[in-house]
Subunit: 125 residues, 2 copies
């Protein structure tokens, strides 16, 4: 099944080992072995993490002799941030509360005395 890019990005970022790897890559491309060093897990485990990072487009890999250097490609993070930014005002102001308050006001507006249920429609499928 096809999985959208944003889901791919967020789920790649959901693992602390992978985030640490990305952090390390901000100081330049490096080998798998060196990326593995700080982590208390086997090389194949790291290799798998790198594969999901590559799959999500957050790194690219090349070849230089025996070593396969990994390089950061932060572009997909842009879309993640763009998505999140739409919520900024919600965590900065208490706008979520405000939206609820306004909705409450409208819901309790005249000509609907008490127990309205505003077109519930379609009980699931």
């Amino acid at each position: 099944m096809v999985i959208d890019q944003l889901s791919l990005t967020f789920s790649a970022l959901a693992d602390p080992t992978r985030r640490a790897i990305l952090a390390r890559l901000t100081s330049g491309q490096t080998s798998v072995t060196e990326l593995a060093a700080p982590h208390d897990m086997s090389l194949p485990a790291i290799s798998k993490h790198l594969r999901v990072l590559e799959h999500s487009g957050l790194i690219t890999r090349s070849r230089a002799g025996q070593v396969r250097p990994c390089q950061l490609k932060a572009e997909p993070m842009k879309d993640a941030v763009d998505w999140l930014e739409r919520y900024r005002r919600h965590w900065e102001e208490r706008l979520d509360r405000l939206a609820d308050y306004l909705q409450e006001l409208q819901a309790n507006a005249p000509r609907q005395k008490g127990k309205r249920r505003g077109r519930a429609g379609k009980t699931s499928r």
Copy 2:
């Protein structure tokens, strides 16, 4: 096992259904049934999604009669954005490439004729 908040947030955001639910909640708190309506899945499935959103701190739930309204709590997104922002320059400029270039320069610095392997050390454990 304890799982860090950032991983919790990113993995909550990694599902398109959950992102759609959050998007819906920007226009005010609402019931589980109404949140479920646009999605082609059972109510228990939605209930589970809401549980992971609650667990990650992205929503809160209350009780108003029979209905359990969900409310957006965008705060955890702030930390997600803060984490991502450290990479902004990497997707805006081509800074990732630059870092690699600088590292390359240093690696090829004099007094290391040709095939250095810059203290490989510690072959994993």
